[in-house]
Point group: C2
Chain length 606, copies 2
């Protein structure tokens, strides 16, 4: 039956691909036997209750094998065979690569090398917090073993001894354009992966008995297991298998009907997938949140307030977890680590694995924070991009924003993070200027969905707001305002303090300035900005970020629909910073109080 099921998965993969106008999906065919044995004999999953927390997780890290995944859903009775007709069609949930548009898909895949790290995160949540008995199965390609993110995952899972995690590696020895480096040398893969603390099993990936035994061995192992399965890309179709090193170029491939015939013809095997008992989802323990607050005028960095608010959040909600890439003493998630060590997860200096672990915990329903210096979110940008596509909820924090980071130099300064984080679907970007705002926004992040990003500053800055203030996402604060304002200064984060200083200097010169604290960069407070623009006719924007894609661009976008456009001057970091003190850095970048005042005078001079 397993062999027949493997044949059916191949046939249905070919059918799906053909409906989409594609030739035989060679990398679905290679993994079909592996998935047949998993589906029929090892996966524990209730397709009628995808929300059952006792369900196993199956992640197609090689997301381009989506036809195979959808063929499995047909065999499991989760979707009708006819739905394959809509593979890759407009509006269909059977997309080119799997996404959570399907209830049985946890995360979007299709960017190679991410599934295993996420699987490790899910497995870690299961082993350490959920305390549930599910297993995590990740189908990986051999080509994607070239991705460093895979090795961050092997390292993390091996160190944590995640015995509930199995990587099924479809070693079909061909990448996208030709052979992989190691071909069918599964022993070489085994040496590498076992050196990272994994159990490994090498098998013929088309021998259902060997596959079955390997999965049983994985389940019995005390460590995470990698099943290294030698397979043939295009298995079952002579012409496709024979293409060998040349990729698909040049070979005459069979049409769908011929391929289906060669594969053994259509069948309608229906697998009764073993469903675990339904378990109630965990209900987080909720208490009232006591956000820390700071006296006006005190010098406190926003990263400190974030860290302390996060620790408070940990007391208020039992489902808050924090993921760290050996940076907690910089981001100040160290406060949380001290008070909630059981919910603080160390990924060491592996930012992609930090982000993937966070995705994994989010998949398991935890309220997940991950923090690193803002500059190093660039290292995990693809993981965050894929999370946003998959609708995963994440609270992300970037410390050490901008040139005000100081003497460490440009490598340590987040100067592109707002641009990167704004350019994600449905993302929220917040940038507090004082401790009370930072604490409130830390809490506010948890009340939204999707990707939320909080940008904090290294330096201590004076507390501006009293404890009575609120800071809704999408809002702003007008810190200086009169009926006769000449110019509006829009600032955020550290430049708010420069803007206020500039306003004071200008007031002495008789220039009345409105100051807007744009703590919510996305969504942005369009109404307040347009009103200020209409009232003053002149807007100076100042930010500690490259001039592209940051606060300035967000403001311009908001003003675009104004009936009357104001004059606008944008100040941002124009030159490459070196080392210097924070004060010197702001001066060199032309975003300190003097530069702002100068810009106000310039815009008034027309």
């Amino acid at each position: 039956m397993l062999t027949a099921l493997g044949r059916q998965l191949r046939v249905d993969s070919v059918r799906a691909a053909d409906f989409a106008g594609l030739g035989p999906p060679a990398s679905s065919l290679s993994a079909a036997d592996l998935m047949a044995v998993l589906l029929a004999g090892h996966l524990r999953y209730d397709f009628d209750a995808s929300q059952n927390p006792a369900n196993d997780h199956l992640i197609f890290s090689k997301g381009h094998a989506s036809p195979l995944l959808y063929a499995m859903y047909v065999a499991a009775g989760a979707i009708a065979s006819e739905e394959l007709r809509w593979f890759r069609a407009s509006g269909s949930r059977l997309q080119g690569h799997p996404t959570p548009a399907l209830p049985w898909v946890d995360v979007a895949t299709g960017s190679l090398g991410q599934g295993l790290g996420i699987g490790a995160g899910i497995a870690l949540a299961g082993a350490r917090l959920d305390r549930r008995d599910f297993r995590v199965w990740v189908l990986c390609g051999d080509g994607e073993l070239a991705e460093g993110s895979m090795w961050e995952a092997f390292e993390h899972a091996g160190h944590e001894r995640l015995r509930n995690l199995t990587a099924i590696v479809d070693v079909n020895r061909l990448g996208q354009r030709g052979p992989t480096r190691l071909g069918w040398d599964t022993a070489a893969y085994a040496r590498r992966i076992s050196a990272f603390g994994w159990h490994t099993v090498e098998i013929d990936g088309h021998d259902v008995d060997q596959i079955d035994a390997a999965y049983a061995e994985a389940a019995a192992s005390e460590r995470p297991t990698a099943v290294l399965a030698r397979t043939r890309k295009g298995k079952g179709l002579r012409a496709v298998e024979d293409v060998g090193d040349a990729g698909s170029g040049g070979a005459v491939l069979p049409d769908a009907e011929a391929a289906i015939a060669e594969l053994g013809g259509r069948s309608a095997i229906r697998v009764e997938v073993a469903a675990p008992e339904y378990e109630a989802p965990a209900v987080p323990d909720l208490r009232s949140l006591r956000i820390p607050w700071y006296e006006r005028g005190r010098l406190v960095s926003t990263r400190t307030a974030f860290g302390q608010a996060l620790a408070a959040m940990g007391h208020a909600r039992s489902d808050v977890v924090v993921i760290d890439p050996d940076a907690s003493d910089a981001t100040l998630t160290s406060y949380f680590a001290e008070e909630h060590p059981e919910r603080f997860f160390e990924c060491h200096a592996a930012e992609q694995q930090m982000a993937a672990t966070a995705v994994g915990f989010s998949v398991r329903g935890f309220l997940t924070f991950a923090a690193t210096p803002a500059a190093f979110w660039t290292r995990a940008y693809d993981v965050v991009r894929m999370a946003s596509i998959g609708g995963v909820g994440l609270c992300l924090v970037g410390s050490h924003a901008g040139v005000s980071t100081g003497a460490d130099g440009p490598s340590q300064m987040g100067l592109e993070d707002i641009a990167a984080m704004r350019a994600l679907w449905r993302s929220i970007v917040l940038y507090p200027c004082d401790a009370n705002q930072a604490a409130h926004l830390t809490a506010a992040m948890t009340e939204h969905s999707g990707i939320r990003y909080l940008r904090t500053t290294c330096e201590d800055t004076p507390v501006l707001y009293g404890p009575e203030e609120t800071f809704p996402v999408g809002g702003s604060k007008v810190l200086r305002e009169s009926d006769a304002d000449d110019v509006t200064i829009v600032a955020a984060g550290i430049t708010v303090h420069e803007a206020l200083r500039a306003a004071d200097v200008l007031a002495d010169d008789g220039v009345s300035v409105r100051v807007v604290d744009l703590y919510s960069v996305k969504p942005v407070d369009t109404a307040t900005l347009r009103r200020a623009a209409a009232d003053t006719g002149r807007v100076v924007i100042v930010e500690d970020h490259w001039p592209q894609g940051g606060v300035g661009d967000a403001v311009l976008d908001a003003l675009t629909g104004s009936t009357v456009m104001p004059s606008v001057l944008k100040l941002g970091v124009l030159a490459l910073p070196g080392s210097a003190t924070p004060v010197e850095q702001l001066y060199h970048a032309g975003i300190d109080a003097d530069s702002v005042a100068e810009a106000v005078r310039e815009i008034m001079a027309g």
Copy 2:
């Protein structure tokens, strides 16, 4: 003498840190003996001629050990001891992390895990193209071995058997906030690294004889060698060494004078670093460039034209190299690979290593292209960020831009790449709409410095421009224009075709539309945009990208200084795409010709 030199490097590291107001630089002290032996006995470097192509390369992948690097420069006589006084000071070239502001530094480091991949790229260039005898030495931390990028580098260098590459791993067993996973277990590191095809040597990193022997062994090895050196963080300072697992928290550290005394006091050892014979830099073989051209009206994708122009560029210049992450059949660098296989370097599916390899070739003076589907530049964003900080010249290409990629779904669509690439220091962002423009811009990229990014489209589009056209960086093309234009449409890439179709439809309705092809997104053609805005008073911008940070924001920024601001409507991708045909995708995203025409009518209605 070597031991004394190690002591001096420690003392000078402490002096530098103290000048900057910092305590003893514990992770410089651990590596001092390793660097003393390298400097005095193995490094071949002419500090008076950093441009000598026969010089070895020394990369501090652990860039936070910059005090040690600068102490080495003092010992080598490259800088005066007094210059240490300016460590981390404003305007100083002795920055917090090394940058090429110093002539002996190849690349900026400070983002962990990047130095080894770049070193592998340099070594590959040396072994395969330069054919020079230099060696590449990379000082790595043990903490950064958690970064997946390191394992991409191990994999690449091991596979390529780069015997000219040595990784010196300072196993001081402490990361930023605590112990590493493996502590001093160098055998565990050796198992992992040797599984990737490297030779490994485990030594006491404070025993100069062992260090010396290890380097000799590395030089004699047929493979790349990792010297795994057990060291003590803070070596030589009892109080710092004793801090152990707790990081620096709590310990009473000696002040600088006490530390210098404990380390053995000041000295002024001057090392005669062995300088290689001066060799003339390679002069590229230049021939006239025959850019391919395409007849107007033909359907040719911009990625095809890029690929063919790149192959032509390979004939015109012998110094052009191309780095591929198993995507040449998508990006169409395959044309180059076929015609210039000896200058085409395959990194397999490892985008960070692709980018790092490109940096390495650029360091060696090659004119380096690297291409991947645009979405996957997010995977290498940090490497590109660091390259931009280091002033490295790179020609980068992202194919499969935007929703017009089609049925593969959102994971494969570059929708944030313009935002990310614009937000890099001095970057250039180009986005051709037709084959002739793509071919010309491919050539134009090579005439600039820094990070240059070309965005190409998967789909075939009609050729618009004749062979006589030129496309300077920073320019634009006005494709429709009259004295009585009602509205300006600004488009780029695939939306140019939609804009032209909209203009035709509108013309039938008596609406005269100006169409600007904004192929140069950064720098942007401010003059033409402002003139169009002034002439028409209304601007519709349409782009195949998220609305944040892309073409629309670039246009708004350019219009910001206009004397009279036009009405502006920005069209971009608002909803998360799924699978669909390219035509359907443009429709769903609201960026097809009908949507553009509708927007024009809307803006005219005011």
